[in-house]
Subunit: 332 residues, 2 copies
């Protein structure tokens, strides 16, 4: 399927690039930049469409090959992302870039398909309290909507069908419920897999997660759903644990990690804390361990200037940009 | 040996506390608070002796059982630590607290012994360029001084002999030399072990380290020197990698981790970046994974107020104090 072939973690990628781009090396880890969605939706200012396009172009030039660029939700709910359709059309013009979006329901999924997004993620909160508060849906209603999504997708011609992922949000705990039973996360992962989604992912929405919990959940989902059904995690850095959890994820063999440039977004309620994992620090972690990301760290750090200029009131986080790239980086 | 028995990672600890403190539980991981040494030596202000004592008392009350409280160096070099002798005398009055100090040479070691420190760490830079610049010593000269230290200690009665550790600093890379060959670190670890030191530790002085490098070094040193000769690491958070490296350390079975309250110190040259691992975030990482530290996180976070009041111009770092302790923490 042509849309999928832009995703590194899809097995059809090799043959796609083998023909079109013989010099291309598949990276070990695909970093999915979520700043344009998770970042921008959590700040008050609305970034102009032209600035979003410049950000996407610059980060693509730095080597980033998956970006979650927006969310198909009603314009009045998230005016910051009202131009998602236009942004998707722009981003799909960049060869080899997997253009991902969020869609909270079947309606958003249809919009995503209409605009040609390559990957669509539907968030499904493992805390029913959170699900009711956030999208006014019980777990049963969410499962029915996910079923409607997969049935709709199965009716499409293969070449028009995006990669459809359900993100198991609040999987590591909920600010309303507290601990979320791991057995519930595994049961829900199994249920949505049975409905025919391409993939499930784990999301530490609240920054409650720890590496050993991540390990139990990953191993449990692999056993319940099959290893190929879980490739990625969306981790937050609310309590500074983001890279420790990311390390566990890659040591377990996961291949897709979400992060945001400057760590923006992810956590609107914790002042002083970066919410998302900082892409710059994540690239440094992976590349210094010898895991390729395809991303040029120095070029990535330069993208910050563009974002800072477009969002003068937003604080950018990240340790590596402050401290600098070490002498001899990647020489080892 | 009585001094050693205050260190959790020493096998004689059990019998010591078994008699004196029957309700005491040995934690899985000993966190060694280095804020009073590595923190205070890197800031311009000098904390009054009474404030240092209050800090030590408060963190001891929160459950901390090892603290590096100062350094026996000439007063004019580090006026912030000029009261180290007095601080050691105070801290050794707290039952079950392992009182550690730094000593750069045999003279500092003798001072540490005279004041009754329980543990003495001598830093030995794996980068000879850094060693020459920092303490004007070649590697050969450093080895001769370490030999003088162990010979001096062997001449003391056992009850007066502190635990003597050599910290292999810049083991993960040097800002002057760049990458430091791992073979050199292993050779130096073997050489100092042969001189009769009780323990070697690994120090990521520059914040260059990554988890897989840490793993190679730990496994290599264990093979070269014996598993019991390496228990601890001193990690920095200069590039945000501190907790990822800490995770690898505990997954490898290391049992002593250095960190500093509020992350102060460790990195005077990187503005905006906390240098040391933040003790609060480290406690959260370990305890949430089910590894006991003996430290009450809420009480630890309260210690920040005391330090902030005593050092009004110093920024305290840490994500967990900002974001708060999760609902249901330690309930899992």
């Amino acid at each position: 399927m042509v849309y999928l072939s832009c995703c590194y973690n899809n097995s059809s990628f090799g043959q796609f690039t083998g023909a079109d781009n013989p010099g291309f090396m598949k990276p070990d880890i695909l970093i999915s930049e979520v700043g344009l969605r998770d970042g921008l939706q959590n700040i008050a200012a609305t970034m102009p469409t032209a600035d979003k396009q410049a950000w996407i172009a610059a980060q693509y030039a730095a080597g980033c090959r998956e970006m979650e660029v927006g969310s198909f939700v009603p314009r009045k709910l998230l005016p910051q992302l009202a131009d998602t359709g236009e942004i998707v059309r722009y981003a799909t013009g960049l060869e080899g870039l997997c253009v991902a979006v969020l869609a909270p329901n079947p309606r958003g999924l249809r919009d995503a398909v209409a605009h040609g997004a390559h990957k669509v993620t539907l968030p499904f909160s493992m805390s029913e309290t959170h699900s009711l508060k956030n999208v006014n849906r019980t777990h049963a209603r969410m499962l029915a909507e996910i079923r409607a999504c997969t049935e709709y997708l199965q009716g499409l011609p293969a070449e028009a069908r995006p990669h459809f992922e359900v993100s198991l949000s609040t999987a590591f705990g909920c600010t309303l419920e507290g601990p979320v039973p791991e057995s519930r996360v595994l049961a829900m992962a199994e249920a949505v897999t049975a409905l025919g989604v391409d993939e499930v992912s784990l999301s530490d929405t609240t920054g409650y997660g720890n590496p050993r919990q991540l390990k139990r959940l990953v191993l449990g989902i692999r056993e319940a759903c099959g290893r190929d059904k879980l490739q990625g995690v969306h981790l937050h850095n609310t309590r500074g644990q983001g890279l420790a959890n990311a390390l566990m994820a890659v040591e377990l063999g996961l291949t897709t990690l979400d992060s945001s440039l400057g760590g923006i977004g992810g956590c609107p309620f914790a002042p002083g804390a970066s919410g998302n994992i900082v892409t710059e620090d994540l690239v440094f972690l992976l590349e210094s361990m010898g895991l390729s990301t395809g991303i040029d760290l120095a070029a990535l750090i330069e993208v910050r200037e563009l974002v800072a200029a477009a969002l003068p009131d937003v604080e950018l986080f990240g340790f590596t940009p402050d401290a600098g790239i070490p002498m001899g980086y990647r020489a080892a």
